[in-house]
């Protein structure tokens, strides 16, 4: 039997758009918090950061990302790694993210 094919990265990003930073009111993808996605089809690993180290929402957001990944059809295991290097920069945001923080 062939191993499952990797997911389309866009599907993972769409799932992660369900997760918001409640202080800013914008999703983690448009805020530019997603640093990397690796997947094997059934297991997805996401490397992400937060706007501030020591953010009180960090556990909730990471847990939310975990649930969002498990919500993708076919995904059986999800790992969310919080990383702080490189530090988050406003230049990482999309247009939607920039609008959410009033930078447009």
């Amino acid at each position: 039997m062939n191993p499952p094919a990797p997911l389309d990265g866009q599907i993972v990003l769409d799932a992660m758009r369900q997760v918001i930073d409640p202080e800013i009111g914008c999703n983690v993808v448009d805020l530019g918090l997603i640093y990397g996605i690796t997947n094997t089809g059934t297991k997805v690993t996401v490397q992400m950061t937060l706007t501030t180290p020591g953010c009180p929402m960090s556990e909730s957001i990471a847990q939310g990302a975990h649930w969002a990944l498990l919500g993708i059809a076919g995904v059986e295991d999800a790992v969310v790694e919080l990383v702080w290097e490189p530090p988050w920069q406003p230049s990482m945001m999309t247009e939607i993210g920039r609008a959410a923080v009033g930078m447009r």
């Binding site: 799932a15 369900q18 409640p22 202080e23 501030t52 649930w67 930078m103």
Partner: protein
Amino acid sequence: MLTGLMALTTGSVWMMCRPSMLAAYHYNQYVIALTHLFVLGWICSIVMGAMYQLVPVALETKLYSEKLARWQFALHFVGFIGMVWMFRTWNLKQVGHFGSLLTVGVGLFVFNIARTLRRVPKWNVTATAVTAALCWISLTILAGLSIATGKCAAESFDGSEANVGVVIGALRPLAGLVSRFDPISAMHMHAHLGGIGFFTMLIVGVSYKLIPMFTLSEVQSQRRAGLSVALLNIGLAGSFVTILLSSPWKLAFSLVTISALFIYSWELCAILRARKRRPLDWGVRYFLTAVALLIPLSLAAIALSWPGLQANPFLGQLENLYGFVGLLGVVTLAIIGMLYKIIPFLVWFGVYSKHIGRAQVPALADMYSPRLQMIGYWSFLVALIVISAGILRESEIVVRIGALGFFACIALLLANFGKILVHTAHPRITPRVVVRPLKPILA
């Protein structure tokens, strides 16, 4: 937090019913009772409750003991209500008893936060400021208790050695020490220790962590931040001695404290200039307005600490105004600003954190009305100005009108916090958007 809001509401009704408290000189039982209602009931209840939540968050550690915090709350609750009531009836013996309960509670608070600070992984300016604040609150409470106990022991001692009880006898040396200082100077020293040492120190220290967090910025100069905290400590240490001794050097140490606040404001401006989140929400605006009020407060401090000043009715009212703007202007506005961040966060965390990623949940700003926040902000400033004018003019009617406006602001605040609390009973959770079906990429 609910205790604090109840005390604020009670205090604002009391101001409205008895405006003579602010329109006349402050050394009387009603003003002292009202001040302790605001300071212990409103400000300390909120600040201490928030510290149990915020210090672990701001310093990336865990609270040492929640059980100790619950015990402290019980002692604080009984202690402050008893103290306010007994100040009102001017029964200093009972003030001492209830004050002792409160002191035990503060001891638990200091121990709990100090043990929490020992777990801090990376020491920083916020941790230094919190540590200093713990030292100053300890000194404030001990000074207040010493003043009440000394005064009470002195009154209980009728001059004949035979009638002296064991406790009163033991407290005589303290009574002797307290009686060597001018009672008004001792009271002012006690007020400054708490107002600057605990409240202002925390506002400065915690904001170095929270304002960058809320505005997506960072401290621009650790050296400037550290200097502001160091100078605040030096200024207050000097003021402690010079106010107590009614020394002409008061002015010098007032200027040191003011320079600390100037450096703090400078750093705060730098943080705001570097922010990535451009619009300032109303919570942050409340806080920054509190900081801006430090300017008139500093000018009043210079005037009141000017050497050789002779007491007169206008100066008495200026002292009233100084205390009023300090507590109900600077500290209260800063607290309201932070509460607009803390209360939504706590409710969101309790109600929505387990649903994030599985359903659509509201953002913090969607949980209350920014319109009510804005109306509350402007009416608070108007009420503050009207009451200040009433204090300076010694006009009871003007103070009453201002207090009515102040009460209306508190009602708006409670209405908005009520909107946030509604989420605990009626959460706004909508099913999430379905992610499109899997389309594997063919190699």
